[in-house]
Protein backbone atom coordinates (compact mmCIF):
# COMPACT_ATOMS: atom_id res chain seq x y z
CA UNK A 1 0.00 0.00 0.00
CA UNK A 2 1.26 3.47 -0.81
CA UNK A 3 2.48 5.83 1.94
CA UNK A 4 3.20 2.96 4.33
CA UNK A 5 6.82 3.93 4.69
CA UNK A 6 5.96 7.56 5.34
CA UNK A 7 3.55 6.60 8.11
CA UNK A 8 6.23 4.41 9.60
CA UNK A 9 8.49 7.45 9.94
CA UNK A 10 5.79 9.27 11.86
CA UNK A 11 5.11 6.24 14.05
CA UNK A 12 8.78 6.00 14.87
CA UNK A 13 8.75 9.47 16.37
CA UNK A 14 5.44 8.90 18.07
CA UNK A 15 6.77 5.79 19.76
CA UNK A 16 9.80 7.46 21.31
CA UNK A 17 8.94 9.08 24.64
CA UNK A 18 8.61 12.84 24.82
CA UNK A 19 11.53 14.79 23.62
CA UNK A 20 14.01 12.03 22.96
CA UNK A 21 15.63 12.00 19.56
CA UNK A 22 15.94 8.64 17.81
CA UNK A 23 18.59 8.11 15.13
CA UNK A 24 17.93 9.86 11.83
CA UNK A 25 16.18 7.42 9.56
CA UNK A 26 18.11 8.12 6.36
CA UNK A 27 16.98 4.84 4.85
CA UNK A 28 13.30 5.39 5.55
CA UNK A 29 13.46 8.88 4.09
CA UNK A 30 15.13 7.62 0.95
CA UNK A 31 12.48 4.95 0.48
CA UNK A 32 9.68 7.52 0.70
CA UNK A 33 11.42 9.76 -1.81
CA UNK A 34 11.84 6.82 -4.16
CA UNK A 35 8.18 5.96 -3.88
CA UNK A 36 7.35 9.58 -4.69
CA UNK A 37 9.55 9.50 -7.76
CA UNK A 38 7.90 6.29 -8.98
CA UNK A 39 4.39 7.64 -8.39
CA UNK A 40 5.24 10.86 -10.19
CA UNK A 41 6.64 9.07 -13.22
CA UNK A 42 3.61 6.82 -13.45
CA UNK A 43 1.43 9.88 -13.31
CA UNK A 44 3.45 11.65 -15.99
CA UNK A 45 2.98 8.64 -18.27
CA UNK A 46 -0.73 8.34 -17.54
CA UNK A 47 -1.35 12.05 -18.01
CA UNK A 48 0.23 11.98 -21.47
CA UNK A 49 -1.72 8.84 -22.31
CA UNK A 50 -4.96 10.36 -21.06
CA UNK A 51 -4.40 13.47 -23.16
CA UNK A 52 -3.20 11.71 -26.29
CA UNK A 53 -5.57 8.77 -26.36
CA UNK A 54 -8.47 10.48 -24.57
CA UNK A 55 -8.38 7.92 -21.77
CA UNK A 56 -10.52 9.48 -19.10
CA UNK A 57 -10.55 6.18 -17.22
CA UNK A 58 -6.99 6.87 -16.15
CA UNK A 59 -7.99 9.98 -14.27
CA UNK A 60 -9.02 8.31 -10.98
CA UNK A 61 -5.63 6.58 -10.68
CA UNK A 62 -3.87 9.85 -11.50
CA UNK A 63 -5.81 11.52 -8.71
CA UNK A 64 -5.03 8.70 -6.29
CA UNK A 65 -1.33 8.89 -7.00
CA UNK A 66 -1.40 12.65 -6.59
CA UNK A 67 -3.04 12.28 -3.18
CA UNK A 68 -0.38 9.79 -2.18
CA UNK A 69 2.31 12.18 -3.29
CA UNK A 70 0.82 14.96 -1.17
CA UNK A 71 0.51 12.59 1.78
CA UNK A 72 4.11 11.50 1.46
CA UNK A 73 5.27 15.11 1.27
CA UNK A 74 3.26 16.01 4.34
CA UNK A 75 4.56 13.04 6.36
CA UNK A 76 8.17 13.68 5.40
CA UNK A 77 7.98 17.36 6.28
CA UNK A 78 6.22 16.54 9.57
CA UNK A 79 8.91 13.99 10.43
CA UNK A 80 11.74 16.40 9.73
CA UNK A 81 10.07 19.35 11.44
CA UNK A 82 9.21 17.37 14.58
CA UNK A 83 12.85 16.34 14.86
CA UNK A 84 13.90 19.97 14.56
CA UNK A 85 11.59 20.85 17.43
CA UNK A 86 13.16 18.15 19.57
CA UNK A 87 16.62 19.40 18.67
CA UNK A 88 15.61 22.96 19.51
CA UNK A 89 14.46 21.77 22.94
CA UNK A 90 17.92 20.31 23.50
CA UNK A 91 19.49 23.76 23.31
CA UNK A 92 17.27 24.89 26.16
CA UNK A 93 17.85 21.70 28.15
CA UNK A 94 21.57 21.07 27.73
CA UNK A 95 23.10 24.37 26.66
CA UNK A 96 25.03 25.01 23.49
CA UNK A 97 27.17 21.90 23.61
CA UNK A 98 25.15 18.79 23.00
CA UNK A 99 26.04 15.47 24.63
CA UNK A 100 27.80 13.12 22.22
CA UNK A 101 25.12 10.44 22.32
CA UNK A 102 22.50 12.93 21.12
CA UNK A 103 24.69 14.36 18.39
CA UNK A 104 25.23 10.84 17.15
CA UNK A 105 21.53 10.60 16.31
CA UNK A 106 21.52 13.81 14.29
CA UNK A 107 22.16 14.10 10.57
CA UNK A 108 24.81 16.52 9.30
CA UNK A 109 22.13 18.95 8.16
CA UNK A 110 20.44 18.80 11.54
CA UNK A 111 23.73 19.66 13.21
CA UNK A 112 23.97 22.60 10.86
CA UNK A 113 20.43 23.73 11.67
CA UNK A 114 21.28 23.51 15.35
CA UNK A 115 24.42 25.57 14.87
CA UNK A 116 22.45 28.25 13.09
CA UNK A 117 19.71 28.20 15.74
CA UNK A 118 22.07 28.69 18.64
CA UNK A 119 23.82 31.49 16.79
CA UNK A 120 20.49 33.28 16.25
CA UNK A 121 19.55 32.76 19.86
CA UNK A 122 22.90 34.04 21.11
CA UNK A 123 22.58 37.12 18.91
CA UNK A 124 19.16 37.82 20.27
CA UNK A 125 20.20 37.38 23.90
CA UNK A 126 23.20 39.64 23.50
CA UNK A 127 21.00 42.39 22.13
CA UNK A 128 18.73 42.59 25.18
CA UNK A 129 18.96 45.80 27.18
CA UNK A 130 21.88 47.91 26.12
CA UNK A 131 25.01 46.25 27.42
CA UNK A 132 25.98 42.61 27.52
CA UNK A 133 22.47 41.29 27.12
CA UNK A 134 20.68 38.65 29.16
CA UNK A 135 20.98 34.87 29.10
CA UNK A 136 17.35 33.86 29.01
CA UNK A 137 18.22 30.17 29.12
CA UNK A 138 19.09 30.71 32.77
CA UNK A 139 16.61 31.48 35.57
CA UNK A 140 14.22 28.81 34.37
CA UNK A 141 12.57 28.56 37.79
CA UNK A 142 11.53 31.29 40.23
CA UNK A 143 14.24 31.71 42.86
CA UNK A 144 13.36 30.03 46.15
CA UNK A 145 16.50 30.36 48.16
CA UNK A 146 19.74 32.20 47.91
CA UNK A 147 22.24 29.43 48.51
CA UNK A 148 21.84 25.74 47.90
CA UNK A 149 23.65 22.63 48.95
CA UNK A 150 25.15 20.83 45.97
CA UNK A 151 27.08 17.63 45.50
CA UNK A 152 29.62 17.29 42.77
CA UNK A 153 28.93 14.35 40.48
CA UNK A 154 32.08 14.56 38.38
CA UNK A 155 35.44 16.27 38.58
CA UNK A 156 35.00 19.73 37.13
CA UNK A 157 38.10 21.53 38.27
CA UNK A 158 38.14 25.03 39.69
CA UNK A 159 35.06 27.17 39.91
CA UNK A 160 35.07 30.84 40.79
CA UNK A 161 32.17 32.52 42.54
CA UNK A 162 31.28 36.19 42.65
CA UNK A 163 33.33 37.25 45.66
CA UNK A 164 36.49 35.83 44.12
CA UNK A 165 36.67 32.60 46.12
CA UNK A 166 37.74 29.61 44.08
CA UNK A 167 36.14 26.25 44.81
CA UNK A 168 37.56 22.94 43.69
CA UNK A 169 34.79 20.79 42.26
CA UNK A 170 35.96 17.29 42.96
CA UNK A 171 33.74 14.27 42.54
CA UNK A 172 31.56 13.66 45.61
CA UNK A 173 32.52 16.89 47.34
CA UNK A 174 29.67 18.94 48.75
CA UNK A 175 29.42 22.71 48.70
CA UNK A 176 27.09 25.46 49.79
CA UNK A 177 26.99 27.74 46.78
CA UNK A 178 24.91 30.60 45.38
CA UNK A 179 22.01 29.14 43.44
CA UNK A 180 22.35 31.30 40.36
CA UNK A 181 25.93 30.18 39.79
CA UNK A 182 24.97 26.51 39.88
CA UNK A 183 21.97 26.39 37.57
CA UNK A 184 23.81 25.58 34.39
CA UNK A 185 26.11 23.05 36.04
CA UNK A 186 23.11 21.31 37.57
CA UNK A 187 21.44 21.03 34.18
CA UNK A 188 24.63 19.68 32.65
CA UNK A 189 24.80 17.00 35.30
CA UNK A 190 28.02 18.21 36.92
CA UNK A 191 26.37 19.20 40.19
CA UNK A 192 23.40 17.76 42.01
CA UNK A 193 21.10 19.79 44.22
CA UNK A 194 21.03 18.12 47.64
CA UNK A 195 17.73 18.66 49.35
CA UNK A 196 17.87 17.71 52.97
Amino acid sequence: MFCEKAIELIRELHRVSDGQLPAFNEDGLRQVLQEMEALYEQNQADVSEAKAAGRADLIPSIKLRHCCLLRNQRCVVAYLYDRLLRIRALRWEYGSVLPANVRFHMSAEEVQWFGQYKKSLASFMRSIGGQEGLDVTQDMKPPKSLYIQVRCLKDHGEFEIDDGTVILLKKNSQHFLPRWKCEQLIRQGVLEHVMS
Binding site: Q73, L121, L134, P142, P143, W180
Partner: protein, 224 residues
Protein backbone atom coordinates in the same frame (compact mmCIF):
# COMPACT_ATOMS: atom_id res chain seq x y z
CA UNK B 1 11.00 48.92 47.42
CA UNK B 2 14.41 48.39 48.99
CA UNK B 3 17.04 50.91 50.05
CA UNK B 4 19.28 49.92 47.22
CA UNK B 5 16.84 51.31 44.69
CA UNK B 6 15.81 54.56 46.29
CA UNK B 7 19.34 55.96 46.16
CA UNK B 8 19.36 55.76 42.39
CA UNK B 9 15.67 56.22 41.71
CA UNK B 10 16.20 59.53 40.02
CA UNK B 11 19.01 58.51 37.63
CA UNK B 12 17.22 55.60 36.06
CA UNK B 13 14.39 57.51 34.53
CA UNK B 14 16.24 60.48 33.14
CA UNK B 15 17.05 59.02 29.75
CA UNK B 16 13.53 57.59 29.37
CA UNK B 17 11.86 58.52 26.17
CA UNK B 18 8.49 58.26 27.94
CA UNK B 19 6.86 61.43 29.15
CA UNK B 20 5.76 60.01 32.49
CA UNK B 21 8.66 59.24 34.75
CA UNK B 22 8.08 55.87 36.37
CA UNK B 23 9.18 54.92 39.82
CA UNK B 24 11.04 51.61 40.04
CA UNK B 25 7.98 50.10 41.71
CA UNK B 26 5.77 51.16 38.80
CA UNK B 27 8.28 49.80 36.31
CA UNK B 28 8.36 46.37 37.96
CA UNK B 29 4.56 46.35 38.17
CA UNK B 30 4.43 47.06 34.43
CA UNK B 31 6.89 44.24 33.80
CA UNK B 32 4.79 41.82 35.84
CA UNK B 33 1.62 42.81 33.98
CA UNK B 34 3.30 42.36 30.62
CA UNK B 35 4.72 39.02 31.80
CA UNK B 36 1.37 37.61 32.94
CA UNK B 37 -0.43 38.82 29.81
CA UNK B 38 2.20 37.27 27.58
CA UNK B 39 2.20 34.01 29.55
CA UNK B 40 -1.53 33.49 29.33
CA UNK B 41 -2.29 34.87 25.90
CA UNK B 42 -2.37 32.33 23.04
CA UNK B 43 -1.00 34.86 20.57
CA UNK B 44 2.04 37.10 20.62
CA UNK B 45 1.30 40.51 22.13
CA UNK B 46 2.76 43.90 21.26
CA UNK B 47 6.40 44.19 22.16
CA UNK B 48 7.29 46.19 25.25
CA UNK B 49 10.94 46.91 24.59
CA UNK B 50 10.91 50.17 26.54
CA UNK B 51 9.98 48.20 29.63
CA UNK B 52 12.64 45.58 28.90
CA UNK B 53 15.33 48.23 28.47
CA UNK B 54 14.38 50.08 31.65
CA UNK B 55 14.31 46.87 33.66
CA UNK B 56 17.76 45.91 32.37
CA UNK B 57 19.08 49.31 33.43
CA UNK B 58 17.41 48.85 36.78
CA UNK B 59 19.11 45.49 37.27
CA UNK B 60 22.50 46.98 36.41
CA UNK B 61 22.00 49.72 39.01
CA UNK B 62 20.93 47.21 41.60
CA UNK B 63 23.93 44.97 40.94
CA UNK B 64 26.22 47.98 41.24
CA UNK B 65 24.65 48.98 44.54
CA UNK B 66 25.03 45.45 45.79
CA UNK B 67 28.77 45.63 45.23
CA UNK B 68 28.92 48.61 47.57
CA UNK B 69 27.13 46.89 50.43
CA UNK B 70 29.45 45.69 53.19
CA UNK B 71 30.22 41.97 53.07
CA UNK B 72 28.22 40.00 55.60
CA UNK B 73 25.56 42.68 55.87
CA UNK B 74 22.18 40.93 56.12
CA UNK B 75 20.64 43.34 53.62
CA UNK B 76 22.80 41.94 50.84
CA UNK B 77 20.83 38.68 50.84
CA UNK B 78 17.51 40.45 50.39
CA UNK B 79 18.82 42.65 47.62
CA UNK B 80 20.25 39.59 45.88
CA UNK B 81 16.89 37.81 46.04
CA UNK B 82 15.15 40.84 44.66
CA UNK B 83 17.56 41.04 41.73
CA UNK B 84 17.09 37.33 41.05
CA UNK B 85 13.30 37.63 41.19
CA UNK B 86 13.22 40.52 38.75
CA UNK B 87 15.63 38.75 36.43
CA UNK B 88 13.45 35.64 36.56
CA UNK B 89 10.34 37.59 35.57
CA UNK B 90 12.17 39.34 32.74
CA UNK B 91 13.68 36.09 31.42
CA UNK B 92 10.34 34.33 31.66
CA UNK B 93 8.68 37.16 29.74
CA UNK B 94 11.22 37.06 26.95
CA UNK B 95 11.08 33.26 26.84
CA UNK B 96 7.27 33.29 26.47
CA UNK B 97 7.66 35.58 23.51
CA UNK B 98 10.41 33.54 21.89
CA UNK B 99 8.39 30.36 22.27
CA UNK B 100 5.38 31.91 20.58
CA UNK B 101 7.53 33.37 17.82
CA UNK B 102 9.03 29.96 17.11
CA UNK B 103 5.75 28.11 17.38
CA UNK B 104 3.89 30.35 14.94
CA UNK B 105 6.77 31.79 12.98
CA UNK B 106 5.18 32.23 9.52
CA UNK B 107 2.06 33.85 11.03
CA UNK B 108 4.06 36.17 13.25
CA UNK B 109 6.11 37.36 10.30
CA UNK B 110 2.97 37.76 8.21
CA UNK B 111 1.27 39.84 10.92
CA UNK B 112 4.34 42.05 11.16
CA UNK B 113 4.48 42.48 7.38
CA UNK B 114 0.84 43.48 7.13
CA UNK B 115 1.02 46.19 9.77
CA UNK B 116 -0.33 49.52 8.66
CA UNK B 117 1.71 52.71 9.01
CA UNK B 118 1.37 54.01 12.56
CA UNK B 119 0.45 50.68 14.11
CA UNK B 120 2.82 49.58 16.86
CA UNK B 121 5.21 46.75 16.06
CA UNK B 122 4.52 43.27 17.28
CA UNK B 123 8.18 42.31 17.31
CA UNK B 124 11.20 44.25 18.51
CA UNK B 125 13.86 44.68 15.80
CA UNK B 126 15.91 41.93 17.44
CA UNK B 127 12.93 39.58 17.66
CA UNK B 128 12.17 40.29 14.02
CA UNK B 129 15.71 39.36 13.04
CA UNK B 130 15.46 36.19 15.13
CA UNK B 131 12.11 35.25 13.54
CA UNK B 132 13.41 35.80 10.02
CA UNK B 133 16.54 33.76 10.72
CA UNK B 134 14.41 30.96 12.18
CA UNK B 135 12.23 30.95 9.07
CA UNK B 136 15.17 30.95 6.68
CA UNK B 137 17.08 28.33 8.65
CA UNK B 138 14.10 25.97 8.73
CA UNK B 139 13.09 26.50 5.10
CA UNK B 140 16.66 26.00 3.87
CA UNK B 141 16.94 22.81 5.89
CA UNK B 142 13.68 21.34 4.59
CA UNK B 143 14.57 22.20 1.02
CA UNK B 144 18.06 20.71 1.23
CA UNK B 145 17.10 17.48 2.99
CA UNK B 146 13.81 16.61 1.32
CA UNK B 147 11.99 19.11 -0.84
CA UNK B 148 14.54 19.40 -3.58
CA UNK B 149 14.62 15.61 -3.87
CA UNK B 150 10.89 15.51 -4.50
CA UNK B 151 9.07 15.72 -7.84
CA UNK B 152 9.09 19.21 -9.43
CA UNK B 153 5.53 20.14 -8.51
CA UNK B 154 6.06 19.30 -4.84
CA UNK B 155 9.22 21.20 -4.06
CA UNK B 156 7.57 23.96 -2.09
CA UNK B 157 5.62 23.97 1.14
CA UNK B 158 3.25 26.78 2.08
CA UNK B 159 4.51 27.61 5.56
CA UNK B 160 1.40 29.55 6.44
CA UNK B 161 -0.69 26.45 5.85
CA UNK B 162 1.80 23.95 7.25
CA UNK B 163 2.47 25.66 10.58
CA UNK B 164 -0.60 25.97 12.82
CA UNK B 165 -1.96 29.38 13.81
CA UNK B 166 -2.42 30.35 17.46
CA UNK B 167 -5.82 29.29 18.75
CA UNK B 168 -7.58 32.55 19.55
CA UNK B 169 -10.59 30.71 20.88
CA UNK B 170 -8.69 29.32 23.86
CA UNK B 171 -10.16 30.30 27.17
CA UNK B 172 -8.32 32.73 29.42
CA UNK B 173 -8.83 33.96 32.97
CA UNK B 174 -8.93 37.71 33.32
CA UNK B 175 -9.44 40.48 35.84
CA UNK B 176 -11.15 43.67 34.76
CA UNK B 177 -9.18 46.84 35.41
CA UNK B 178 -11.44 49.35 33.70
CA UNK B 179 -15.16 48.85 33.49
CA UNK B 180 -16.31 47.78 30.03
CA UNK B 181 -19.82 48.01 28.71
CA UNK B 182 -21.57 46.09 26.00
CA UNK B 183 -19.00 43.50 25.17
CA UNK B 184 -20.40 41.30 22.42
CA UNK B 185 -20.03 37.58 23.02
CA UNK B 186 -20.41 35.76 19.75
CA UNK B 187 -21.95 32.28 19.78
CA UNK B 188 -19.68 29.27 19.60
CA UNK B 189 -22.27 26.93 18.17
CA UNK B 190 -25.27 27.41 15.96
CA UNK B 191 -27.74 26.77 18.78
CA UNK B 192 -26.47 29.68 20.81
CA UNK B 193 -27.22 33.29 20.12
CA UNK B 194 -24.92 36.17 20.70
CA UNK B 195 -25.36 38.27 23.80
CA UNK B 196 -23.87 41.28 25.46
CA UNK B 197 -22.17 41.59 28.86
CA UNK B 198 -20.85 44.41 30.97
CA UNK B 199 -17.53 43.82 32.71
CA UNK B 200 -17.41 45.40 36.14
CA UNK B 201 -14.15 46.79 37.45
CA UNK B 202 -12.39 44.27 39.70
CA UNK B 203 -14.46 41.32 38.52
CA UNK B 204 -12.83 38.12 37.21
CA UNK B 205 -13.96 36.07 34.25
CA UNK B 206 -13.16 33.08 32.11
CA UNK B 207 -13.67 33.83 28.43
CA UNK B 208 -12.49 33.12 24.96
CA UNK B 209 -9.36 35.11 24.23
CA UNK B 210 -10.71 36.33 20.89
CA UNK B 211 -13.40 38.40 22.62
CA UNK B 212 -11.04 40.21 24.99
CA UNK B 213 -7.99 40.54 22.72
CA UNK B 214 -8.44 44.29 22.14
CA UNK B 215 -9.04 44.84 25.84
CA UNK B 216 -5.77 43.12 26.71
CA UNK B 217 -3.83 45.38 24.38
CA UNK B 218 -5.51 48.50 25.68
CA UNK B 219 -4.82 47.48 29.26
CA UNK B 220 -8.50 47.38 30.24
CA UNK B 221 -8.19 43.78 31.42
CA UNK B 222 -5.32 41.79 32.90
CA UNK B 223 -4.87 38.09 32.11
CA UNK B 224 -4.33 35.97 35.22
Amino acid sequence: MSDALSEDGSDINQDDSEEDVMTPAELIAKLEQAWLNEKFSPELLENRSEVVECVMEQLTHMEANLQRVKKGDAKAGFHRMEIDRIRYVLSSYLRSRLQKIEKHFPHVLEREKSLVEGQPSLLSPEEFAFAKEYYTNTETYLKAVALKRMPPNLQAVDMLKAVPEPCLDSFVFLRVKKRQENILIEPETDEQRDFVVDLEEGSQHLMRYRIVAPLVSSGAVQLI
